[in-house]
């Protein structure tokens, strides 16, 4: 037996979940004047995860990223950025780690 139902439609904006994770490494802040990661890092990797779209009836939204890159081949540095975000109704959580090698 399969039992399912849908919650009643809520007014727009009355309830919502949002998650966002981004990671970036850079040697020149002038290249990123707003302090946010660009949509793609210089290696073409997407360091931003806006989270999946909410699934009706599933009150959780998550986003996560694991981003390893160097700014350019001659850059002596490597960055490892790891982040997760979880949002549910009644609970939220985030975790981040940045290593510079």
């Amino acid at each position: 037996m399969v039992v399912c139902w849908t919650t009643s439609a809520a007014p727009a904006g009355a309830s919502s979940l949002f998650t966002l994770v981004n990671s970036c490494g850079r040697t020149d802040p002038n290249a990123f004047p707003f302090g946010m990661c660009e949509a793609l890092d210089p290696n073409g990797h997407p360091p931003v995860d806006h989270g999946g779209f909410p699934i009706p009836g599933v009150p959780v939204q998550v986003a996560s990223i694991r981003d390893i890159f160097t700014l350019k081949p001659s850059d002596p540095y490597a960055y490892l950025g790891v982040g997760t975000a979880t949002a549910g109704f009644g609970h939220v959580g985030t975790a981040t780690e940045m290593q510079e090698l």
């Binding site: 037996m1 039992v3 399912c4 139902w5 849908t6 919650t7 009643s8 809520a10 007014p11 904006g13 009355a14 309830s15 919502s16 979940l17 949002f18 998650t19 966002l20 994770v21 981004n22 990671s23 970036c24 490494g25 850079r26 040697t27 020149d28 802040p29 302090g35 990661c37 009836g57 009150p59 959780v60 986003a63 990223i65 981003d67 002596p76 540095y77 960055y79 950025g81 790891v82 982040g83 997760t84 975000a85 979880t86 949002a87 549910g88 109704f89 009644g90 609970h91 939220v92 959580g93 985030t94 975790a95 981040t96 780690e97 940045m98 290593q99 510079e100 090698l101």
Partner: protein
Amino acid sequence: MLNLGSVSATAESRDTLRLSAGTTARFGFTLNGPAVGVCDFGGASGAPCDHAFGAATSSFSANIGTGAVRFEVDQQADTRTTQIFGTFDPLTRLLLSDPVSITGPIELEMLSRSNANTKGPLPVPNERFSTQAVANFGDTATLTEILVFDADGNLLPDVTITSDSGTIYPLAPSGGPGGGPGTPPGTPMPAPPALLLMGAGLAGLLGSRCRHASRLPGGKEPGARQSPRQAPGV
């Protein structure tokens, strides 16, 4: 010019709550975390870890109508600071808001943010550094109880809380803050037809089983005690 790495995470939930009674309410959030540190978690891939160039911040905040709570831990290099807005019990890890007036639907916004950064002077060749920063609130901040009071300040034990998301939020036990377990947070609210279907299905199963038992050879009466080995279908 700085050598800079950054990772940030944001989680947010918004909901609208309606309380069937009460004049004021206090919201209690149980905090599992946060943990922040610089070079505290094994260093950068085993390399010597330079504390000077790490920074981490983890925070939880909630806006509840006109009220608010906040818990934030920051670490810059080896200096750590904690800011708390609200009443925090370190034993139960419960962060309790001040009373919020109930004049209509209550907008609830919960927000968690974590940032880990590495930064330092751009080194000359062969003077590079390694560092690590961790900000972890990943074990969540959870709304675990809502205390509703009447105009005289008496705690009301029987208040119905509904929400636009359909989530059942936990009313505080009558013992007061942290007095016992409430309804698990984030519990989806089953719609009445679903409960009726489930109840009808269970009743049907039980009825079928009883009818089957009454037809057993040996003339056993329905409800007669049977050993598990004699039970049908075992």
